[in-house]
Amino acid sequence: MTPARIYTPFAARVQELRVETRDVKTLRLVFQDEKVGEQFTFQPGQFVELSVAGEGEATFCLASSPEEKGFVECSVKRVGLVTEAIHRLDPNALVGLRGPYGNSFPLGQMEGRDLVFVAGGIGLAALRSLIKVILAEPQKYGSILILYGARSVADLVYREELEQWGSHKDLKTVLTVDPGGESAEWKGEVGFVPAVLEHLNPGRKNSTVITCGPPIMIRYVLAALDRMGFDPEAVITTLEMKMKCGLGHCGRCNVGPLYVCKDGPVFTYAQIREFVEQII
């Protein structure tokens, strides 16, 4: 039987492994073959399969901007075998990368609208690429609000970038930590993301909400948005699910008639409303 080449990854090398938190590192990868690097394009919202020799393959969203040429970045939370192995990688170590897979955020539909980003924990990684693209041309969009929360102050990722983003005119960042997760010098909010969101009560007229975080957070954020009267068509989320092939073949990420890998991972709330209980 001949090999299935659709599964053969590109070789990429670790250029940098940046510590974000105690269990999150951001991996910057450079393709071994420069030509591949030049030709590799993607859209914010797409994902890749990363693999480590002898450890396995796992799914990660692309967290860098497609405009940043020569490298790609993924932020990796240490939770299992592959992520553990990624955290242990030495500089210049070789990994496999295949993709990009899946659909992407509907950038065109966001133009001219106020944008509300609602993220929790490592979920911000899935929105970082989109935020970077939007901030490259902020004049195309209305006001931007980034609400970001984590369990504790120590679990917030991209702290420096969040500060940079916050310095943009028309962009407001609100950081929050779960009750009990605050430190003595914490100046942000204390409260769960959905509660803080309802408290902030962003205007729903001409707003698009983009949310990603742990399943429990997404579930309550969607419920809060329902209560606040947001149009489910204007609420966008990106789903995490165990995937293997990334191509709609292996059947793992199937929910209802949808395959998260090829029909998603980006969905409007309207699209997944009837399956929400099954997914998150």
Partner: protein, 392 residues
């Protein structure tokens, strides 16, 4: 349509052994399995479908007068234990090697032509369902090469057994979908051969055999009717609205209670296509997987949207009879009955699917044919008891 003598087929297989792979039914400990024939053993292992006599008294006299042939298979279950899917979508496939130094594709072996003979109509039709997945938007090259390199010679069924239900899913014991060449047995020694595709036409043209006459056609037609009538089971897939309505029914807990989550239903199924990608040392493999496994959707972080056995069993049924149809305009089931035949706890897919409309509403499994269940009134009490939150 041509009449092929048994000798013509054995000569064909013998001549192909040298330069092709031949996949055929082989008897192992009283059961048939599709296997690749070992060229060193010639056709010794081939289980010739001579036992395939029509049930009833309408056996045609044609061509069965002499029987000096060895290897006549005794009457065993006519359907092989395994389906033919593994010769296109292997159980375990080496994808490539990944070492800390680089990624090494597996060497591409010189492709051998393959002749797959005596595929039953359900199995052949299963290929057309797998095609929708593996030859869709993204093509799986290894599957495509195997499909292109294989000539499927099908064999009509004269003796469907009590688990067969292909006719209720658009198939039939004399259907030819997925075959290149179809053989209708006229007794054990002669076959009525019909080319289905160009590949089959080319094969048929290379074989000696006289044109079929009206008499053979009539016999075949008679056999078809007998075979179709022999299929007593029928699966009645509810319409999508009914399926959706009973998604949250406690029925799924009841019907899956006995399930051992062993996955044999998926592995023997001609249309189940789910797989895993795993490492074995530095080799990355693609291996069959099953949605009944408790690790199928469990993430490293412990999240699992199908934590409960009932939700995994339900996924199998909905994937086959609702989602697949929505995406590909056909159910992902050909009615071969293998999942029921080989289930260690006798879970019966036909009973379960047929029970969705009525029994799901009352939260009881369908018990068709069991005397103690007969006549049980399908009252509406307890209907649509919804899950009390949490993940299915």
């Amino acid at each position: 349509m041509r009449i092929l003598e048994r000798k013509t087929l054995t000569d064909l297989l013998k001549s192909r052994l040298a330069d092709s792979q031949i996949i055929a039914p082989v008897e192992v400990e009283g059961r048939l399995y599709f296997q690749q024939l070992d060229p060193r053993k010639g056709l010794a292992d081939l289980a010739w479908p001579a036992a395939d006599q029509p049930s009833g008294d309408s056996a045609p006299g044609a061509g069965s007068e002499s029987s000096d042939s060895p290897n006549v298979t005794p009457a065993v279950d006519p359907l092989t234990v395994n389906s033919i899917k593994e010769f296109f979508f292997p159980r375990r496939q080496e994808l490539y090697e990944q070492t800390p130094e680089g990624i090494i594709p597996r060497p591409v072996a010189a492709e051998k032509k393959t002749l797959l003979i005596f595929a039953r109509p359900c199995d052949a039709r299963g290929l057309t369902i797998l095609d929708r997945v593996f030859l869709g938007e993204v093509q799986d090259e290894s599957y495509r090469r195997a499909r292109q390199g294989t000539t499927v010679v099908g064999l009509h069924c004269l003796q469907p057994d009590r688990h067969c239900f292909c006719t209720s899913l658009g198939g039939g014991p004399f259907e030819t979908e997925g075959m290149d060449l179809a053989l209708a047995p006229l007794g054990g020694e002669r076959f009525l051969a019909q080319a289905v595709t160009e590949k089959g036409e080319a094969l048929l043209a290379s074989l000696a055999g006289k044109q079929a006459g009206e008499a053979e056609r009539e016999i075949t037609e008679k056999l078809r009717k007998v075979a179709e009538a022999a299929i007593k089971r029928s699966i009645q897939v509810p319409d999508p609205q009914t399926m959706a309505k009973h998604f949250d029914s406690p029925y799924w807990g009841e019907v899956s209670r006995a399930c051992l989550t062993c996955g044999i239903c998926s592995y023997l199924c001609p249309t189940c296509h789910c797989f895993d990608i795993v490492d074995e040392g530095y080799l990355r493999l693609r291996c069959w997987d099953t949605c009944s496994s408790d690790t199928f959707t469990r993430t490293a972080a412990g999240e699992d949207h199908r934590k409960q056995k009932r939700s995994r069993y339900r996924q199998r049924i909905y994937h086959k009879f609702s989602y697949f149809n929505e995406n590909f305009d056909t159910h992902s089931c050909v009615g071969c009955g293998r999942c029921t035949r080989h289930c260690p706890v006798k879970i019966d897919i036909v009973e379960i699917v047929n029970g969705i409309g009525e029994a799901a509403a009352v939260g009881r499994p369908a018990m068709a044919g069991r005397p103690e269940a007969a006549g049980r009134p399908a009252t509406g009490t307890g209907a649509k008891r919804r899950r009390s939150g949490g993940k299915g």
